[in-house]
């Protein structure tokens, strides 16, 4: 062992394993340990960003087999990307870990039910909706608990079913089916944008996307909605299903290319989708046919808060009932997209809303939602959730505002578990509820949203 021995033990045993050069770029300074939630909880190197990269490197160097243990360690990562915000050489840790998962898939595949869910159901929006229908029916008939009683004991999947039932939002009629292809700006059209509807928003939180479209229209945007859009691919990428993720990316890129010219931005109200859409450029960087198309696509993607903050018309004043709130930064918005100021500056426009600071603001401390981490690693997810709930409690908030469906559902779950009454809102819902009332110009019908639904206002906080 000498400090000066050159490295040359590299072995490519799996084509997908991330670039060796990038792995070598980790100088092992340990900076990333200080912000990694899983390291903080365990204080064990193998659960740290540096540790995960070192496993990948040991495999590449031929010092370690690609064991099931290696694969499991890669999945202990939340993909919250806190580490990437502090890494001095900018190694791109999160992306390397996710690529490592894809490489491990050939030998240690994800559980059958998960792959089936991802491949069959999420690959097309119609399938998501079809898949969601029986669950929606069960929920409506209040039979979901019965399912848990019968299936909850199944080996391998029973615990997941139990968590899912406790955590799952009440599903709604899919929004996609009622959306028009165009929502016109109310008043003068100042901008034209396209809207990307996330799967979760579609079936679980349609009110949020209704609010998004409404607010965009009121802010002078005409919104085009390509209804054939597919899932963004983030869940597949996250779970080692790289090929499916890339397929979905290509499909979405082609679809949005087919929109008429003059689209200034592709707007989404789901931080998880936004992060993936912005990373298409990275995903497809090595694909000669798609690299530049992906770059063009990603460059136009904006989180709804980012977009609205940039174009908000000064004369459009916002007024809300008095509330003490905190803003919870979604990891995928703050850490990956670097969007932290925009939602805060939008919320600062809202009179009546008092925004309190939330502890451990940056890099963001994950709430434990993290894709499907709460299903796959429930205990650790709950430990993180409890920390988040304590921070919210310490801030004295009665309302949590955020910008990602996963976070909103997770924190809502936390509130239910603690029997606390806490309002959960997406930023756009706050904006929507704070807009001045329009006289005689009711555009609600345009976006298929009943006035009744919007009037429910503050009371609708059960996701």
């Amino acid at each position: 062992m000498s400090l000066f021995d050159p490295i040359n033990g590299q072995r490519f045993f799996a084509p997908d394993l991330p670039g060796y050069d990038k792995l070598l770029g980790c100088v092992r300074c340990g900076r990333c340990l200080s912000v990694c939630p899983t390291y903080e909880l365990t204080r064990i190197e193998t659960f740290s960003p540096r540790g995960r990269l070192s496993l990948l490197r040991a495999v590449e160097d031929g010092r370690l087999e690609l064991t099931r243990g290696v694969a499991e360690h890669l999945y202990h990562c939340l993909d919250c990307r806190s580490c990437d915000t502090v890494c001095p050489p900018g190694v791109g840790i999160g992306e390397l870990i996710v690529r490592g998962r894809a490489a491990a898939e050939a030998r240690h595949a994800r559980p059958w039910w998960l792959r089936r869910l991802l491949d069959v159901f999420l690959a097309s929006p119609a399938r998501v909706e079809t898949a969601a229908a029986p669950l929606r029916l069960l929920q409506a008939l209040r039979l979901d608990r019965l399912v848990v009683l019968t299936l909850g004991g199944l080996p391998g999947i029973g615990a997941t079913i139990r968590t899912l039932q406790a955590f799952a939002p009440r599903l709604s009629r899919p929004l996609r089916r009622e959306l028009p292809r165009v929502v016109r700006a109310s008043g003068e059209e100042r901008h034209r944008v396209a809207f990307f509807l996330g799967c979760l928003m579609n079936v679980a939180m349609p009110d949020v996307s209704r609010a998004t479209l409404h607010v965009l229209a009121r802010a002078g945007c005409t919104v085009l909605i390509p209804r054939e859009q597919a899932c963004c691919g983030a869940p597949h990428d996250d779970q080692g299903q790289r090929a499916t993720a890339l397929r979905l990316a290509r499909r979405n890129i082609a679809l949005f290319e087919s929109l008429p010219d003059g689209i200034e931005a592709i707007v989404t109200d789901c931080a998880g989708c936004g992060a993936a859409l912005k990373e298409y450029a990275l995903w497809l960087a090595d694909d000669p046919e798609w690299a530049s198309r992906a770059r063009r696509f990603s460059a136009r993607v904006r989180d709804v808060t980012e977009w609205l903050d940039a174009i908000w018309p000064e004369e459009l004043k916002l007024d809300h009932e008095p509330r003490l709130a905190v803003y919870h930064d979604p990891c995928h918005l703050a850490n990956i997209q670097g969007v932290r100021a925009a939602p805060r500056s939008l919320l600062a426009r809202v009179s009546g809303l008092e925004l309190r600071p939330l502890a451990n603001g940056f890099p963001v401390e994950c709430c434990g939602s993290a894709g499907i981490y709460n299903l796959t690693h429930t205990a650790r997810s709950l430990a993180l959730l409890e920390r988040k709930m304590a921070a919210i409690e310490a801030a004295g908030a009665e309302m949590v505002v955020s910008a990602n469906p996963g976070c909103l559902m997770q924190i809502a779950w936390g509130a239910r578990r603690a029997n606390r009454s806490l309002s959960l809102r997406h930023v756009v819902e706050i904006l929507d509820a704070s807009l001045p009332k329009t006289a005689g110009h009711d555009d609600d019908h345009v976006i298929g949203m009943s006035t009744k639904a919007r009037k429910r206002g503050d009371s609708k906080n059960e996701f």
Partner: protein, 466 residues
């Protein structure tokens, strides 16, 4: 490692989850903050002094090497495992046991992260000054083991200046308490100061009593550029003679300035030879007048340009340039070797020139920055580890830098420690009488040579100790 020993170790830490022989864990505990790697035979994660002592009892009886480890951010290989070793992960012992305002002290376990302690005591108006560059993640145990310093030590001293007492687990399983809660303490030999800086070769520190001081209210910063390195060094000398002891006196050479400027535009001039960042602290009015006088001195010494902060926030903004050094340098080349030498302050210009010569002679790129007030320089060689020829030249240059430091009346390491990588150079800096006494000390504490073998002492001295 055989099953009988493993089961003894398992009993020592009282729970299966505190011991691992999984290949993944062995791979993740094979390194520290350097490039080298050696997997241990087993990793244990004790939660208490008692469990740590029990591990040392087994190791002593079975003659198994023990390598203590905090966050693994060390830069000298001090926590690098040796073949067959027990890696002792102390990161889980991370409780701050007490912070006493009345006695101005804190008691902490070794796995507490330095910055976590600093933030906790600052909330109470107290201050723990040592701030190694890795304070965001390094542990107090590691700080004690290496006697860590950092930029603030010109004014406030190094870790040993703050250690009042220690609990140390010894080979064989004894637990020894040293020092206590008082600043003055001449009861017996000062063994706690012997343990500080011993790099885990004598025992394992499991509890630390640290002296705290009142938190200074304000910080003011000046940033000055110089056409000549010698002028920058003279300026700091003049400042100290005038009675201004800066909190920070950080030096960057031209290559460092360029790297920082490329990484993030601060508007620094890139055609100067040296940049000095001076910070002072204290009560706001005093800090302000001190920085004003410092600025006069800097100008008098030939600074081309001096920028001043008027508030602690502005001071923070100027300090950002210094904090950018590490990421900026990290992006210059695939890899780097960050050295750590110290020379008397008056010899810094000579040393910097010598370092640049060494780099040139070996056809390597170098950036030099450091803590000018205490003569501690961090010459950093840029390299690519996949290139054997380059790495041979890096190896040679590193040796030459150490020789140059000693030749100028300096020392092998200012703050990183000796670890594995500098043990062979110990003879350059220590006479044989001193080395013999060190070997005798080692024998007293660790007769079987199980504590962090292969570190700190030259090989033949260490072997003589067994």
């Amino acid at each position: 490692m055989n099953a009988a020993i493993l089961s003894e170790l398992r009993a020592a830490v009282q729970d299966d989850i505190r011991l691992s022989v999984a290949p993944e864990d062995l791979a993740a505990y094979a390194y520290d903050g350097t490039w080298a790697e050696t997997a241990p035979a087993v990793v244990v994660h004790p939660d208490s002094s008692e469990q740590t002592a029990a591990v040392l009892r087994v190791a002593h009886a079975r003659r198994i090497p023990v390598v203590p480890r905090g966050s693994g951010t060390g830069l000298a290989g001090g926590s690098l495992p040796v073949p067959g070793a027990i890696c002792l992960n102390l990161a889980r012992m991370n409780r701050i046991i007490e912070i006493s305002r009345g006695d101005s002290l804190a008691i902490a376990q070794p796995g507490v992260v330095t910055q976590d302690l600093q933030q906790a005591v600052e909330k109470l108006g107290l201050f723990y000054p040592p701030d190694p560059a890795s304070s965001y993640q390094c542990t107090l145990g590691g700080n004690v083991a290496t006697n860590a310093g950092g930029p603030r030590c010109l004014k406030y001293g190094v870790t040993s200046d703050y250690v009042l007492g220690l609990t140390v687990c010894l080979p064989g399983g004894a637990i020894m308490r040293l020092g206590g809660r008082t600043i003055k303490n001449v009861t017996g030999y000062n063994l706690s100061q012997l343990i500080v800086g011993s790099e885990g070769t004598l025992g394992v520190v499991t509890e630390i009593v640290l002296r705290l001081i009142p938190r200074p209210d304000a910080e003011r910063t000046a940033l000055a550029t110089f056409s000549r390195m010698a002028d920058a060094c003279a300026a700091v000398g003049a400042m100290l003679s005038a009675g201004i002891v800066p909190l920070l006196a950080e030096l960057m050479d031209r290559a460092t300035i360029r790297a920082v400027e490329e990484f993030r535009s601060f508007g620094l001039p890139t055609d100067v030879e040296a940049l000095l960042l001076i910070a002072v602290d204290g009560d706001p009015a005093l800090a302000q007048s001190a920085i004003d006088s410092a600025a006069d001195i800097l100008r008098g010494a030939g600074a081309r340009d001096v920028r001043l902060s008027r508030s602690s926030e502005e001071s923070d903004a100027l300090g950002e340039a210094r904090r950018s050094v590490s990421p900026a340098i990290a992006r210059l080349a695939p890899h780097k070797l960050g050295e750590d030498v110290a020379v008397p302050r008056s010899r810094i210009p000579e040393m910097v020139a010598r370092l640049q010569d060494i780099a040139r002679e070996n056809a390597l790129d170098i950036v030099v920055y450091g803590h000018i007030g205490d003569g501690n320089l961090h010459p950093t060689l840029l390299c690519d580890r996949r290139d054997n020829a380059v790495m041979r030249r890096v190896e040679r240059a590193a040796g030459q830098m150490l020789e140059a430091a000693v030749a100028l009346g300096g020392t092998l390491s200012g703050e990183h420690g000796i670890g594995v990588f500098k043990r062979d150079y110990m003879r350059l800096a220590c006479d044989s009488e001193a080395l013999r006494r060190m070997a005798a000390v080692k024998r007293v504490f660790d007769p079987h040579g199980i504590m962090n073998p292969g570190k700190k002492l030259p090989e033949e001295i260490e072997k003589g100790a067994e």
